[in-house]
Amino acid sequence: MGTFKEEFRKYFSELLSDLELCNYDIVDKLEKDIKTLIKERKEKDNNEEDVETFGSIFFFFTGEIKDMLLDRLLEIFKQEIKEYDDLYDLFFDINIDYEDIFNVEDTKLLREQIIDKIHEHEHFIHYRDAIEYLSEEDCTLQDSLYLAYEYGLDTKDLNSCVLANILYNDNLLKIYDEAEDFLSDLLHFKEEIVERIMDILISSIDILIG
Protein backbone atom coordinates (compact mmCIF):
# COMPACT_ATOMS: atom_id res chain seq x y z
CA MET A 1 0.00 0.00 0.00
CA GLY A 2 1.53 3.36 -1.07
CA THR A 3 1.48 6.54 0.94
CA PHE A 4 -0.86 9.43 0.10
CA LYS A 5 2.02 11.37 -1.43
CA GLU A 6 2.98 8.52 -3.71
CA GLU A 7 -0.59 7.99 -4.81
CA PHE A 8 -1.23 11.68 -5.36
CA ARG A 9 2.03 12.14 -7.27
CA LYS A 10 0.95 9.39 -9.65
CA TYR A 11 -2.58 10.78 -9.98
CA PHE A 12 -1.32 14.34 -10.59
CA SER A 13 1.22 13.23 -13.17
CA GLU A 14 -1.58 11.57 -15.17
CA LEU A 15 -3.77 14.61 -14.74
CA LEU A 16 -1.03 16.88 -16.12
CA SER A 17 -0.69 14.80 -19.25
CA ASP A 18 -4.17 16.08 -20.20
CA LEU A 19 -3.20 19.71 -19.63
CA GLU A 20 -3.62 21.89 -22.72
CA LEU A 21 -3.09 25.58 -23.27
CA CYS A 22 -6.02 27.75 -22.18
CA ASN A 23 -7.98 24.72 -21.13
CA TYR A 24 -9.09 24.53 -17.48
CA ASP A 25 -10.70 21.06 -17.63
CA ILE A 26 -8.06 19.57 -15.34
CA VAL A 27 -9.02 22.09 -12.63
CA ASP A 28 -12.58 20.83 -12.64
CA LYS A 29 -11.37 17.24 -12.69
CA LEU A 30 -9.02 17.84 -9.78
CA GLU A 31 -11.77 19.53 -7.78
CA LYS A 32 -13.99 16.51 -8.31
CA ASP A 33 -11.28 13.87 -7.75
CA ILE A 34 -9.65 15.40 -4.68
CA LYS A 35 -12.69 14.65 -2.47
CA THR A 36 -12.70 10.99 -3.50
CA LEU A 37 -8.94 10.75 -2.99
CA ILE A 38 -9.24 12.23 0.50
CA LYS A 39 -12.15 9.99 1.43
CA GLU A 40 -10.26 6.85 0.31
CA ARG A 41 -7.20 8.05 2.16
CA LYS A 42 -9.06 8.64 5.40
CA GLU A 43 -10.49 5.16 5.29
CA LYS A 44 -7.00 3.70 4.85
CA ASP A 45 -5.54 5.96 7.54
CA ASN A 46 -7.94 4.55 10.12
CA ASN A 47 -6.16 1.21 9.71
CA GLU A 48 -2.62 2.53 9.43
CA GLU A 49 -0.33 4.69 11.48
CA ASP A 50 1.39 6.82 8.82
CA VAL A 51 -1.00 9.77 9.13
CA GLU A 52 0.37 12.85 7.32
CA THR A 53 0.63 16.15 9.20
CA PHE A 54 -0.77 19.46 7.89
CA GLY A 55 2.74 20.87 7.39
CA SER A 56 3.98 17.87 5.52
CA ILE A 57 1.04 17.92 3.06
CA PHE A 58 1.21 21.69 2.70
CA PHE A 59 4.86 21.63 1.71
CA PHE A 60 4.21 18.64 -0.55
CA PHE A 61 1.51 20.54 -2.47
CA THR A 62 3.24 23.93 -2.53
CA GLY A 63 6.65 22.40 -3.28
CA GLU A 64 6.77 19.20 -5.25
CA ILE A 65 3.27 19.30 -6.79
CA LYS A 66 3.54 22.95 -7.73
CA ASP A 67 6.93 22.25 -9.36
CA MET A 68 5.38 19.39 -11.34
CA LEU A 69 2.68 21.75 -12.56
CA LEU A 70 5.20 24.46 -13.45
CA ASP A 71 7.45 21.99 -15.28
CA ARG A 72 4.50 20.83 -17.34
CA LEU A 73 3.48 24.43 -18.05
CA LEU A 74 7.04 25.29 -19.11
CA GLU A 75 6.98 22.34 -21.49
CA ILE A 76 3.72 23.60 -23.02
CA PHE A 77 5.12 27.16 -23.12
CA LYS A 78 8.24 26.03 -25.01
CA GLN A 79 6.18 24.02 -27.44
CA GLU A 80 3.86 26.93 -28.17
CA ILE A 81 6.77 29.30 -28.80
CA LYS A 82 8.49 26.81 -31.08
CA GLU A 83 5.37 26.72 -33.20
CA TYR A 84 5.32 30.53 -33.39
CA ASP A 85 8.25 30.76 -35.85
CA ASP A 86 8.87 34.52 -35.73
CA LEU A 87 8.82 34.64 -31.95
CA TYR A 88 11.06 31.59 -31.73
CA ASP A 89 13.57 33.27 -34.07
CA LEU A 90 13.32 36.49 -32.08
CA PHE A 91 14.17 34.74 -28.79
CA PHE A 92 16.95 32.84 -30.51
CA ASP A 93 18.35 36.06 -32.02
CA ILE A 94 18.42 38.04 -28.81
CA ASN A 95 19.45 35.01 -26.77
CA ILE A 96 16.50 34.95 -24.39
CA ASP A 97 16.00 32.02 -22.08
CA TYR A 98 12.41 30.69 -22.08
CA GLU A 99 12.55 30.17 -18.33
CA ASP A 100 13.33 33.84 -17.75
CA ILE A 101 10.15 34.76 -19.59
CA PHE A 102 8.17 31.96 -18.04
CA ASN A 103 9.11 33.06 -14.55
CA VAL A 104 8.41 36.74 -15.10
CA GLU A 105 5.69 38.15 -12.88
CA ASP A 106 5.22 41.56 -14.45
CA THR A 107 4.48 41.65 -18.20
CA LYS A 108 5.40 45.35 -18.37
CA LEU A 109 8.82 44.52 -16.99
CA LEU A 110 9.10 41.70 -19.51
CA ARG A 111 8.40 44.17 -22.34
CA GLU A 112 11.10 46.52 -21.08
CA GLN A 113 13.59 43.68 -20.76
CA ILE A 114 12.91 42.38 -24.25
CA ILE A 115 13.04 45.85 -25.84
CA ASP A 116 16.35 46.54 -24.07
CA LYS A 117 17.71 43.23 -25.34
CA ILE A 118 16.56 44.02 -28.88
CA HIS A 119 18.23 47.45 -28.81
CA GLU A 120 21.45 45.93 -27.50
CA HIS A 121 21.38 43.23 -30.15
CA GLU A 122 24.00 43.49 -32.91
CA HIS A 123 23.06 41.04 -35.59
CA PHE A 124 25.43 42.45 -38.23
CA ILE A 125 29.12 42.83 -37.52
CA HIS A 126 30.45 42.58 -41.10
CA TYR A 127 29.85 45.38 -43.61
CA ARG A 128 29.40 42.92 -46.46
CA ASP A 129 26.55 41.09 -44.65
CA ALA A 130 25.02 44.40 -43.58
CA ILE A 131 24.90 45.89 -47.07
CA GLU A 132 23.48 42.64 -48.45
CA TYR A 133 20.69 42.79 -45.88
CA LEU A 134 20.02 46.46 -46.69
CA SER A 135 19.97 45.64 -50.42
CA GLU A 136 17.29 43.06 -49.84
CA GLU A 137 15.20 44.80 -47.21
CA ASP A 138 15.65 48.52 -47.86
CA CYS A 139 17.24 49.21 -51.24
CA THR A 140 16.30 52.91 -51.03
CA LEU A 141 17.89 53.09 -47.53
CA GLN A 142 15.03 55.44 -46.64
CA ASP A 143 13.59 53.26 -43.88
CA SER A 144 16.90 52.67 -42.13
CA LEU A 145 17.97 56.32 -42.51
CA TYR A 146 14.61 57.50 -41.17
CA LEU A 147 14.95 55.23 -38.13
CA ALA A 148 18.48 56.51 -37.59
CA TYR A 149 17.10 60.05 -37.76
CA GLU A 150 14.44 59.18 -35.18
CA TYR A 151 17.12 57.78 -32.89
CA GLY A 152 18.92 61.11 -33.20
CA LEU A 153 21.93 59.67 -35.00
CA ASP A 154 24.23 61.69 -37.23
CA THR A 155 26.08 60.65 -40.41
CA LYS A 156 29.30 60.31 -38.44
CA ASP A 157 27.61 57.69 -36.20
CA LEU A 158 26.45 55.64 -39.15
CA ASN A 159 27.75 52.86 -41.33
CA SER A 160 26.12 49.92 -43.06
CA CYS A 161 26.26 47.73 -39.91
CA VAL A 162 24.57 50.41 -37.79
CA LEU A 163 21.84 50.97 -40.40
CA ALA A 164 21.29 47.25 -40.93
CA ASN A 165 21.10 46.61 -37.18
CA ILE A 166 18.64 49.48 -36.69
CA LEU A 167 16.41 48.08 -39.41
CA TYR A 168 16.79 44.49 -38.27
CA ASN A 169 16.02 45.37 -34.66
CA ASP A 170 13.03 47.44 -35.75
CA ASN A 171 11.66 44.30 -37.40
CA LEU A 172 12.29 42.37 -34.18
CA LEU A 173 10.32 45.01 -32.26
CA LYS A 174 7.44 44.63 -34.73
CA ILE A 175 7.53 40.86 -34.25
CA TYR A 176 7.48 41.33 -30.50
CA ASP A 177 4.60 43.81 -30.69
CA GLU A 178 2.61 41.31 -32.73
CA ALA A 179 3.46 38.47 -30.36
CA GLU A 180 2.95 40.38 -27.13
CA ASP A 181 -0.74 39.42 -26.72
CA PHE A 182 0.12 35.81 -27.36
CA LEU A 183 2.83 35.93 -24.68
CA SER A 184 0.50 37.68 -22.24
CA ASP A 185 -2.11 34.98 -22.78
CA LEU A 186 0.47 32.29 -22.06
CA LEU A 187 1.59 33.98 -18.86
CA HIS A 188 -1.96 34.71 -17.79
CA PHE A 189 -2.93 31.08 -18.29
CA LYS A 190 0.06 29.98 -16.23
CA GLU A 191 -0.81 32.37 -13.41
CA GLU A 192 -4.48 31.47 -13.31
CA ILE A 193 -4.15 27.70 -13.51
CA VAL A 194 -1.44 27.63 -10.85
CA GLU A 195 -3.58 29.80 -8.56
CA ARG A 196 -6.72 27.73 -9.06
CA ILE A 197 -4.98 24.38 -8.61
CA MET A 198 -3.09 25.53 -5.51
CA ASP A 199 -6.34 26.90 -4.04
CA ILE A 200 -8.04 23.53 -4.50
CA LEU A 201 -5.10 21.62 -3.05
CA ILE A 202 -4.52 23.88 -0.03
CA SER A 203 -8.21 24.02 0.87
CA SER A 204 -8.30 20.23 0.76
CA ILE A 205 -5.55 19.85 3.37
CA ASP A 206 -7.91 20.68 6.26
CA ILE A 207 -10.34 17.98 5.14
CA LEU A 208 -7.53 15.47 4.72
CA ILE A 209 -5.97 16.14 8.12
CA GLY A 210 -9.17 16.90 10.04
Binding site: Y127, C139, L141, Q142, L145, Y146, T155, L158
Partner: protein, 211 residues
Protein backbone atom coordinates in the same frame (compact mmCIF):
# COMPACT_ATOMS: atom_id res chain seq x y z
CA UNK B 1 46.25 68.42 -115.74
CA UNK B 2 46.27 71.99 -114.44
CA UNK B 3 49.29 73.06 -112.48
CA UNK B 4 47.23 73.90 -109.39
CA UNK B 5 45.70 70.44 -109.24
CA UNK B 6 49.10 68.87 -109.75
CA UNK B 7 50.52 70.93 -106.92
CA UNK B 8 47.67 70.04 -104.59
CA UNK B 9 48.03 66.35 -105.35
CA UNK B 10 51.75 66.52 -104.92
CA UNK B 11 51.51 68.45 -101.64
CA UNK B 12 48.70 66.28 -100.29
CA UNK B 13 50.83 63.24 -100.94
CA UNK B 14 53.88 64.89 -99.39
CA UNK B 15 51.93 66.01 -96.34
CA UNK B 16 50.37 62.60 -95.78
CA UNK B 17 53.85 61.07 -95.91
CA UNK B 18 55.11 63.69 -93.50
CA UNK B 19 52.33 62.91 -91.05
CA UNK B 20 53.34 59.26 -91.04
CA UNK B 21 56.27 60.37 -88.93
CA UNK B 22 54.03 62.11 -86.43
CA UNK B 23 53.98 59.39 -83.83
CA UNK B 24 52.95 60.95 -80.56
CA UNK B 25 51.96 64.13 -78.80
CA UNK B 26 55.49 65.20 -77.96
CA UNK B 27 56.74 65.00 -81.52
CA UNK B 28 57.39 68.36 -83.19
CA UNK B 29 59.95 67.01 -85.70
CA UNK B 30 57.63 67.43 -88.65
CA UNK B 31 57.75 71.21 -88.16
CA UNK B 32 61.42 71.50 -89.04
CA UNK B 33 61.06 69.09 -91.95
CA UNK B 34 58.09 70.96 -93.31
CA UNK B 35 59.87 74.21 -92.89
CA UNK B 36 62.74 72.97 -95.07
CA UNK B 37 60.64 71.21 -97.68
CA UNK B 38 57.93 73.77 -98.31
CA UNK B 39 60.04 76.53 -99.90
CA UNK B 40 61.27 74.55 -102.97
CA UNK B 41 57.75 73.21 -103.54
CA UNK B 42 56.14 76.64 -103.50
CA UNK B 43 58.94 78.07 -105.62
CA UNK B 44 58.54 75.37 -108.20
CA UNK B 45 54.78 75.92 -108.28
CA UNK B 46 55.11 79.65 -108.77
CA UNK B 47 57.65 79.31 -111.54
CA UNK B 48 55.39 77.06 -113.52
CA UNK B 49 52.21 79.08 -113.41
CA UNK B 50 50.78 82.46 -112.53
CA UNK B 51 50.72 83.00 -108.84
CA UNK B 52 47.42 82.19 -107.24
CA UNK B 53 48.28 82.66 -103.60
CA UNK B 54 44.69 82.92 -102.44
CA UNK B 55 43.79 79.52 -103.81
CA UNK B 56 46.86 77.97 -102.22
CA UNK B 57 46.08 79.62 -98.90
CA UNK B 58 42.54 78.28 -98.95
CA UNK B 59 43.89 74.84 -99.79
CA UNK B 60 46.29 74.99 -96.84
CA UNK B 61 43.81 76.48 -94.38
CA UNK B 62 41.02 74.10 -95.20
CA UNK B 63 42.14 70.83 -96.69
CA UNK B 64 45.62 70.55 -95.24
CA UNK B 65 44.47 71.76 -91.85
CA UNK B 66 41.73 69.15 -91.95
CA UNK B 67 44.24 66.39 -92.80
CA UNK B 68 46.40 67.51 -89.89
CA UNK B 69 43.43 67.51 -87.50
CA UNK B 70 42.39 64.04 -88.66
CA UNK B 71 45.87 62.83 -87.88
CA UNK B 72 45.75 64.53 -84.50
CA UNK B 73 42.42 62.88 -83.77
CA UNK B 74 44.03 59.53 -84.45
CA UNK B 75 46.91 60.38 -82.08
CA UNK B 76 44.54 61.73 -79.39
CA UNK B 77 42.42 58.58 -79.58
CA UNK B 78 45.53 56.46 -79.12
CA UNK B 79 46.73 58.60 -76.23
CA UNK B 80 43.33 58.36 -74.53
CA UNK B 81 43.59 54.58 -74.54
CA UNK B 82 46.73 54.86 -72.46
CA UNK B 83 44.92 57.05 -69.93
CA UNK B 84 42.15 54.99 -68.31
CA UNK B 85 40.97 57.94 -66.26
CA UNK B 86 40.43 59.97 -69.42
CA UNK B 87 38.48 57.13 -71.03
CA UNK B 88 36.30 56.78 -67.93
CA UNK B 89 35.80 60.53 -67.68
CA UNK B 90 34.76 60.87 -71.32
CA UNK B 91 32.42 57.93 -71.01
CA UNK B 92 30.78 59.25 -67.83
CA UNK B 93 30.35 62.79 -69.13
CA UNK B 94 29.03 61.60 -72.47
CA UNK B 95 31.88 63.23 -74.37
CA UNK B 96 34.36 61.85 -76.87
CA UNK B 97 37.91 62.57 -77.89
CA UNK B 98 36.69 64.76 -80.75
CA UNK B 99 35.21 67.18 -78.20
CA UNK B 100 38.69 67.53 -76.73
CA UNK B 101 40.30 67.98 -80.12
CA UNK B 102 37.73 70.59 -81.18
CA UNK B 103 37.89 72.57 -77.93
CA UNK B 104 38.78 76.20 -78.59
CA UNK B 105 40.11 76.78 -75.12
CA UNK B 106 41.42 74.44 -72.45
CA UNK B 107 39.83 76.39 -69.58
CA UNK B 108 36.40 76.38 -71.22
CA UNK B 109 36.69 72.66 -71.88
CA UNK B 110 37.70 71.89 -68.28
CA UNK B 111 34.79 74.01 -67.00
CA UNK B 112 32.43 72.14 -69.31
CA UNK B 113 33.70 68.79 -67.97
CA UNK B 114 33.22 69.92 -64.36
CA UNK B 115 29.68 71.11 -65.11
CA UNK B 116 28.87 67.78 -66.68
CA UNK B 117 30.31 65.90 -63.68
CA UNK B 118 28.10 67.79 -61.23
CA UNK B 119 25.04 67.54 -63.46
CA UNK B 120 25.49 63.79 -63.55
CA UNK B 121 22.63 61.87 -62.01
CA UNK B 122 23.95 58.52 -62.91
CA UNK B 123 21.77 56.59 -60.48
CA UNK B 124 18.02 56.99 -60.67
CA UNK B 125 17.12 53.42 -59.81
CA UNK B 126 17.33 52.36 -56.13
CA UNK B 127 18.40 48.86 -56.95
CA UNK B 128 21.26 50.01 -59.22
CA UNK B 129 22.28 52.52 -56.57
CA UNK B 130 22.48 50.00 -53.72
CA UNK B 131 24.36 47.52 -55.92
CA UNK B 132 26.89 50.23 -56.73
CA UNK B 133 27.23 51.16 -53.05
CA UNK B 134 27.63 47.53 -52.05
CA UNK B 135 30.54 47.07 -54.46
CA UNK B 136 32.23 50.46 -53.98
CA UNK B 137 31.50 51.34 -50.35
CA UNK B 138 30.05 48.39 -48.45
CA UNK B 139 30.53 50.17 -45.10
CA UNK B 140 28.74 53.26 -46.52
CA UNK B 141 31.25 55.32 -44.55
CA UNK B 142 32.62 57.20 -47.55
CA UNK B 143 29.24 58.02 -49.09
CA UNK B 144 27.83 59.06 -45.71
CA UNK B 145 30.85 61.26 -45.13
CA UNK B 146 30.24 62.94 -48.52
CA UNK B 147 26.57 63.30 -47.58
CA UNK B 148 27.60 64.98 -44.36
CA UNK B 149 28.94 67.96 -46.35
CA UNK B 150 25.73 68.08 -48.35
CA UNK B 151 23.64 67.98 -45.17
CA UNK B 152 25.46 70.90 -43.59
CA UNK B 153 25.55 72.89 -46.83
CA UNK B 154 21.82 72.62 -47.53
CA UNK B 155 20.53 72.23 -43.94
CA UNK B 156 19.24 68.73 -44.61
CA UNK B 157 18.65 65.76 -42.30
CA UNK B 158 19.79 62.20 -42.73
CA UNK B 159 16.17 61.27 -43.43
CA UNK B 160 16.43 63.31 -46.65
CA UNK B 161 19.07 60.94 -48.02
CA UNK B 162 18.53 57.76 -49.96
CA UNK B 163 20.59 55.20 -51.83
CA UNK B 164 20.49 57.19 -55.12
CA UNK B 165 21.82 60.35 -53.43
CA UNK B 166 24.60 58.40 -51.72
CA UNK B 167 25.51 56.49 -54.88
CA UNK B 168 25.56 59.67 -57.00
CA UNK B 169 27.78 61.44 -54.46
CA UNK B 170 30.20 58.54 -54.54
CA UNK B 171 30.05 58.35 -58.31
CA UNK B 172 30.76 62.08 -58.67
CA UNK B 173 33.68 61.69 -56.31
CA UNK B 174 34.96 58.90 -58.55
CA UNK B 175 34.60 61.18 -61.58
CA UNK B 176 36.42 63.96 -59.75
CA UNK B 177 39.25 61.52 -59.21
CA UNK B 178 39.27 60.72 -62.92
CA UNK B 179 39.15 64.44 -63.64
CA UNK B 180 42.20 65.11 -61.49
CA UNK B 181 44.10 62.26 -63.09
CA UNK B 182 43.04 63.13 -66.65
CA UNK B 183 43.37 66.91 -66.43
CA UNK B 184 47.09 66.91 -67.16
CA UNK B 185 46.65 64.66 -70.17
CA UNK B 186 43.83 66.80 -71.59
CA UNK B 187 45.87 69.97 -71.18
CA UNK B 188 48.91 68.34 -72.82
CA UNK B 189 46.83 67.19 -75.78
CA UNK B 190 45.29 70.61 -76.28
CA UNK B 191 48.60 72.34 -75.86
CA UNK B 192 50.19 70.07 -78.43
CA UNK B 193 47.35 70.57 -80.89
CA UNK B 194 47.43 74.33 -80.50
CA UNK B 195 51.18 74.59 -80.97
CA UNK B 196 51.43 72.10 -83.81
CA UNK B 197 48.51 73.45 -85.82
CA UNK B 198 49.66 77.00 -85.28
CA UNK B 199 53.24 76.22 -86.32
CA UNK B 200 52.26 74.17 -89.35
CA UNK B 201 49.79 76.78 -90.61
CA UNK B 202 52.30 79.56 -89.99
CA UNK B 203 54.91 77.77 -92.05
CA UNK B 204 52.49 77.08 -94.87
CA UNK B 205 50.91 80.53 -95.06
CA UNK B 206 54.14 82.41 -94.63
CA UNK B 207 55.73 80.31 -97.35
CA UNK B 208 53.03 81.47 -99.74
CA UNK B 209 53.41 85.08 -98.67
CA UNK B 210 57.19 85.18 -98.89
CA UNK B 211 57.77 83.39 -102.13
Amino acid sequence: MPIMSTFKDKFRSYFNNLLLDLKDVYDYNIISRLSEDIKPMIKEFKEDEDDDSRDIKVFFEEEIRSILLDKLLEIFARESWYCISLCNLLDATDMDIEDILNAKDAEILMREIIDRIFETKHFVDDWDAIRYLSTQDSSLKESLSLASDLISKYSLDIKDLDSCVLANLLYIKGLSKYYNEAENTIRKLLDFKEKLVKEVMNILISSVNSE
